[in-house]
Amino acid sequence: MSALEWSRALTETTLAFHIIFATIGVGIPIFISIAEWMGIRFNDPHYSLMARRWARGFVITVAVGVVTGTCIGLQLSLLWPNFMRAAGHVISLPLFLETFAFFFEAIFLGIYLYTWDRFKNPYVHWLLTIPIIIGSSASAVFITMVNAFMNTPQGFTLENGVFTKLDPLAAMFNPATPSKVAHVLSSAYVTSAFVLAMIAAFSILRGRQHEYYKKSIRLNMFAGLILALATFAVGDMSAKFLAVMQPEKLAAAEWHFETMPRAPLVYGGFLNEETLEVTDALHIPLALSILAHSDPNAPVIGLNEFPRDLWPPLYVHYLFDGMVTIGGYLVFIPLIFLVFSFFKRCNEYNRWILWGILAGGPLSLLAIELGWFYAEVGRQPWILRGYMRVSEAATTNSHVQLTFWLFVLLYLVLGTVCTMVLSRLFRNQTAEMELEERRIIL
């Protein structure tokens, strides 16, 4: 493999690892905040304990998120020096703002963790969650703006390889920004809801029956339903955006080759890369036109409009299908749960639903990975769509392979130790034990 391929592999590995912790880091503060607020407002110590326990686990994931985020931040320059040299002129503003948001979050997280019982008025401590939420969500917003810019670059003129006539704000608020930012945020929130519900479902399945776990599931499933629906709506918005601004990405995801009106949606199936024939797929008539333009008669641009060397890899179809399928699952599970809890005679905490919730945690994380791989691989061969190819951006340093293995080792160690520490943290001190310790008997 060449330096280019190793650079891509290392960037993929780092991002794939980082995104798990980043997603949790963006979403969980909201739930900590909600739980703490409910605890104070309804004088329910179960929720207050929930906030504490979530915060304790959260710190560990944040630590890994911070260090892997630092890695990807520097790797941008180490692996893609040509890209940073050129695009640095245009995108350094959102990168810079991202560090400010991160700074803000770091300061208040430190304060929050060490002032649990320090204020007479409990709402003062709760208020500290607000800057943490603002900081973590704002850093997601700014970094997504950078990624959106790489998909739909604007705000500059390219003259003889030099970026001139810059408009930093236009670069930040490019056409891809709204749908991307909204999708990243809502999917991070929904994933966090499922990850937290997963933990409680696991405890109940292990035979613990305390009301504490049920309250956690109820809170997370209720929020999860709203957020999963919102994510679906935003995903639809993204598809409509792609149909206009990046038709090749949508066409690759749908194996849509010929431009045509009344386009069907291809779900599943296999592709013969030589003849471009699709077999065993489910064709849903008109659905692609509706998805792309909200109009069954609207024409959808096919891949054949683009030269073959500008096609993204066609395996992105599987990633896209996987993401959407899991998205449907994440709506279905909380819906079932809420329907069951509405009818008195049904037990919404039966084994099957609990297993469904448990699976929702890893599945939602998988959907995040699939979605990002689709978004990133889907803009191949470009690093800056229409301006710079990935092959022109990579480092010329010949030691990328060694670096790759070093980082793989690092992520293996971090992943293992983090899982170990987290599971030990909660196994050695169950919610029941802590309830008793804090003399919460309800």
Binding site: A63, V66, L78, L93, G110, T164, N397
Partner: protein
């Protein structure tokens, strides 16, 4: 003031901030481990962890801020340093990653694990050594450009006396800054046994710090004469650095006013660091990148400066709040809350 000067001043101030907070952090990790080895852990560990716990994340942000800022203000540096520093940069990153996450693991998960503490202590000395190679490379002579390819001369760096002088200075100043701060912090907590040990550390730490900085002058003279002569032009900054150093050591020796002593140490490093920085100009990477050749587009530069000023309005109150709640809160320092 021109854009490139504003940019480099801002960045240099942040790098200085990182130098101080990271030194305290890195040194504290080393002392925590050393304390366990020589059997004085119960004496100095409480002081150290009370300081570190609320600030460990903030330290890291100073570093991120610097490298994002320098690529923003001077995109050319991303090209040269980025290509050249793949290996040393990655090693520093891996060490930082291990350190940052293991601190959280140890403190919020499995406290008192020997291996975690060893990792934490060891990385505290290795990271400053690996990060300081960037400063060495900036003097020139360790990179060449052949057919549009930047090539890093690792062997030159390894066998350069200047580079070893920088490493020595980095490590010894980490230990020195950290111990003077922790002496002050322990004195605030009225934890006299801890003060006794930490005071010893800072007195001993001062000696290699000052020897290695003198050694750097000599080595730099051989390596980059232009820079050395620029330094002589502002010799008074280095003289002030030496005077503040001597005053600080004198105060610590006399066991009084540790707070003042730490401020003097901050001044000592401020004079030396800014003196070094000013005499380095206009080069960011000798002889390839100057602050004028490498500066970003003026529109982006303006936007960055505005973002920076706006960001400071958020950061400064937040940082003050953090300091007031933990560092300068006597009740917290004494462990009463």
């Amino acid at each position: 003031m021109s854009l490139e000067l504003i940019g480099i001043t801002v960045l240099w101030i942040f790098l200085y901030g990182y130098l101080i907070v990271a030194s305290i952090d890195f040194g504290a990790g080393f002392y925590a481990y050393y304390g366990r080895v020589v059997g004085i852990e119960s004496v100095i560990r409480p002081v150290i962890s009370r300081y570190l716990s609320p600030v460990w994340e903030v330290t890291n942000v100073f570093f991120v801020f610097f490298f994002v800022g320098i690529v923003g203000f001077f995109p050319d540096t991303a090209y040269y340093y980025g290509t050249a520093l793949l290996i040393p940069g990655s090693i520093a990153l891996i060490l930082l990653a291990i350190r940052g996450s293991f601190y959280a693991f140890a403190n919020y998960g499995a406290r008192d694990n020997h291996l975690y503490l060893l990792t934490y202590g060891a990385t505290g000395l290795l990271i400053p050594a690996s990060l300081s190679t960037v400063l060495t490379i900036s003097e020139g002579g360790f990179l060449t450009v052949r057919e549009n390819n930047v090539i890093f001369l690792a062997e030159e760096l390894f066998f350069s006396s200047y580079s070893w002088a920088v490493v020595l200075l980095a490590i010894s100043s980490v230990l020195f800054i950290s111990s003077t701060f922790l002496t002050y912090y322990a004195a605030q907590a009225e934890d006299w046994p801890a003060v006794g040990w930490l005071r010893q550390f800072s007195l001993w730490g001062g000696i290699p710090t000052i020897i290695s900085s003198l050694f750097i002058f000599i080595a730099l003279r051989n390596h980059n004469l232009r820079h050395f002569e620029n330094m002589l032009d502002i010799w008074w900054m280095f003289a002030l650095s030496l005077i503040t150093f001597m005053l600080a050591v004198w105060l610590i020796w006399k066991q009084r006013n540790y707070g003042m002593a730490f401020i003097l140490v901050m001044f000592q490093f401020a004079f030396a660091f800014f003196g070094y920085g000013i005499s380095h100009l206009p080069y960011l990477l000798y002889p390839y990148v100057t602050i004028i050749s490498g500066v970003t587009n003026p529109a982006m530069g303006r936007a960055l400066v505005i973002a920076f000023v706006a960001g400071l309005f958020l950061l400064i109150p937040a940082l003050i709040l953090l300091l007031r709640l933990f560092l300068f809160n006597l009740k917290y320092v004494k462990g009463e809350t």
